[in-house]
Structures are given as C-alpha cells and as structure tokens.
Amino acid sequence: MNLVRIDGLHKHFGSNHVLKGIDLRIKQGEVVALIGRSGSGKSTLLRSINGLESFEDGLVEVDGERLHAGQTNLRELRQKVGMVFQQFNLFPHLSVGENVMLAPQVVKKTPRGECETIARSVLDKVGLSEKYDAYPDQLSGGQQQRVAIARALAMQPRVLLCDEITSALDPELVNEVLAVVKTLAAEGMTLIMVTHEMRFAREVGDRLVFMHEGRIHESGTPAELFAHPKTPELANFIGSIN
C-alpha cells in the first residue's frame, strides 16, 4: 500500500525550474534516501511533502491527505508528517519536555498528563529521558537533534522527513543520531531522508532515489544503484563521493 504518493510535481523559484515533474510512490514502512548533488532539488522535494515549499503543479498525498498546488490548509497533512531539520530548530525558550509536548498539547489538545507520558516515552526512545527538564542550549548538537526527533515522534506521524539531519553535527556526534534513525527504521517507521551519509543510506535505505537537475534520474535498491549505475550522471556522482 502506498503511504506517500507524489504526482507530476512542478516547482519554480522565480525563473528557475527546480522540480520538473516528480512522480514517486512510497510504501508504508519503506526507508527512502534522496541523494544527488546540491541544487538537484532533493531538499525542495522533501519540503514539498509537508507543504513547507509550495508548488505550482501536481499532487502530494500522504495517508489519504491530499495537497494540491496553492493549497494553504495543511493542518491535517502536517499531523501525519513529522520533520527533522539540519539545524535542529528546537525552541530555545522551552525545556526539552516542553519542546516535545507543545504540539500534542496545542494541536491535538491532548491533556497535559497524557502529553507528559508521551514526552517521556519518546525521549526514552531517543535515549534522553534524563534531559526532560534541561534547556536546548545545555545539550550537545547530537542530543539536540535527538530531541528534535523525539519532538516529531510525539505527534505520532505516519512518515518522518529528515533533511540532512547530521550535516550540522561534529563527526563524533553523527553516530548517536544515525543509531536513533536506524532503530526507527527497524521498528517500521516510514522514512524519507535527504542525506550525504552514503554509507548510512546504503545500509538502512530500502531504496535510493537519485535526483539530477530537478528530475528523478534513477532509483532502486542501494545494491543495484551502487553496483550498476545506469546513467553516467549517477556513476559520476558515486565516483565523486567515494
């Protein structure tokens, strides 16, 4: 069953045509890594899935919630799509626990007690239950990113979008974040990630989607793609990162 459906997506930034008709189906529980050079449109595609980027033509559908071009009512869709950012974007004026509880409380109107239970359980999942009362600036980058993952999970999303979530981290902190993502993948969470961690994408990804100049150039299992790139662009890209 397709959880995410993207049909004929077109997006311009001014005169720059950044997405040139994207079609993509993602099944429940699938882990998809979007790869490609910077400027290939992979981040824009990811951000279109929860409406952070608008698009001019096409359709995005997540678990029955449809998003058309120019649509502005995104509340239902966004409750089903979690997102984690490169720069963490935790709320600095709120404690870790409050960061995680904010959306369930405000958007879903979940009672405070229940929110606390949810917050503790998602923080436990990312291994940070003891940081419940800490503030974001008291945490390392890796811990902040794990809180950001917990914050997204607290809304019980059907799919989690990860936008280069390890790119802003010091090298020694990358693994603790990747370990959390790996656990989520193993538990059957549907994940769509833009990443430069090719080794990780290969290891955890069910499918790699190679984007080039606003189009999906090639896609397939990591083994297929890395062993037998069909296009010179992909071969070139793989060559450049190894």
């Binding site: 952070l52 974007n89 709320f91 959306a103 958007v107 503030y135």
Partner: protein, 218 residues
C-alpha cells in the same frame, strides 16, 4: 506679579507633570495594544493587510507629531466633532506610538530565526499558535529594551501637545514663565521634571539591555 513663590511654581509644575505622566501612560497602553494589532497585520499572509499596516506606519513615521496633532485637533472640528485638547492629544499620541511600537516589534519578530517558523509549522501549529507559543515569547525578550527605550520618546513627545492647548508640564511651564517673568527658573524646573520622569525609564532600558546580553537564551 512676584507674589508667586517658587513653592507655587514647583507645586503647579508637579500638577502638570502628573498630566504628562497620565497622557504618556494612556498613549503607551493604547498604543501598545494597537501596535500589537499592527504587528499582526504587518506580518499577515494577506497582502492587502500588510500594505495597509505598512501605509499607516509610513504616514505616522513620516510626518511630524505636531502636524498629526493639528490635523486631529482642527480636522475633527471641521467634520463637526469637537475633541477636547486632552482627547485630541491622547488620540494623536496613541496613533503615533502604535506606529513606532508596531515597527519595533515587527523587527523583533523578524529577528527570530526562520527555522523556528519552519519547525513549528511542520508540527502543524497554525499561524496564530506559532506566534503565541514559539515566536512571540522569543521576540518579547528582544523587544523589552527597545520598547522601554521608546517609552522615553513618548514622554518627551507629550510636550508637543501643549501647542493644541493641553495643559501638561510644558504648557504649565510656559504659563508660569509668563506670570513670574522667571523663564530660566521655570523652564529649568520643567526640564528637571522631564528628567525625573525619563531617567528611570532609560536607566531601566540600559539595565535590560545589559541583562539580555549577559543572560542565557531562556
């Protein structure tokens, strides 16, 4: 005419200073409320609302307060509404204050990192919820010092209302100067009065600025 003692002068000036204080408070509170409305309009999604707020701010920032008061005071009687100097002064200063506060606060809201909007949007918060729970609490910290600093401008701005006949500190001063023939003494005391009203505010604003530089982010 010299039977007006220095004590009488001081007492009358203190009376005038109370009116200055009252007008300042009134302008600040009402201007603050409408400034907040302006802020929301200024960052609204609807273009016409943003333009309207921007036009309002440009008009009130781009013309002298004195002209605004003249237009309100004399203009209202032209269309058949008699405004007392007090009402005209309060209305004029409120409009003036709201334009500046709206703009100061907009700058504070825009200084909150864009990622905060994106993160709260992706958690399905509405525009209003984003403002209330995420953006304004952070903007507020940045806004306190310039807001208190601007309140000093409001207090000094009230002096202009003496020209439309509102009897506050400056007007009281000029009446006393005429009566006593001691303009240097009287206006010295008037200046002292403004200083007593404004100094605590600017000292407070400086302290807040220092604190916000030193304090942590929460």
């Amino acid at each position: 005419m010299n039977d007006i003692s220095t004590w009488d002068v001081a007492r009358n000036l203190a009376d005038g200073a109370m009116w200055t204080l009252g007008l300042s408070l009134c302008a600040f509170v009402l201007g603050g409320v409408s400034g907040l409305a302006l802020l929301f309009a200024r960052i609204a999604k609807r273009t016409w609302l943003r333009r309207l707020a921007q036009g309002y701010i440009e008009v009130f920032q781009g013309t002298p307060l004195l002209m605004q008061l003249f237009i309100i005071f004399f203009g209202s009687s032209l269309i058949g509404i008699e405004l007392s100097p007090w009402l005209a002064a309060a209305l004029g200063l409120t409009l003036f204050t709201s334009a500046y506060l709206g703009e100061i606060w907009r700058a504070c809201v825009e200084s909150v990192a864009k990622g905060q909007w994106e993160a709260s949007a992706s958690l399905a918060l509405s525009h209003f919820e984003q403002m209330r729970y995420v953006i304004l609490p952070q903007a507020r910290r940045i806004a306190i010092a310039p807001t208190v600093g601007f309140s000093v401008q409001v207090v000094k701005g009230t002096a202009v209302t003496s020209i439309i006949g509102f009897v506050e500190l400056t007007k009281t001063g000029s009446m006393l100067a005429n009566a006593t023939y001691k303009p240097f003494l009287v206006f010295g005391l008037v200046a002292l009065g403004y200083f007593i009203l404004c100094y605590p505010l600017s000292a407070f604003s400086r302290r807040l600025e220092r604190n916000s530089r030193e304090s942590r982010t929460h």
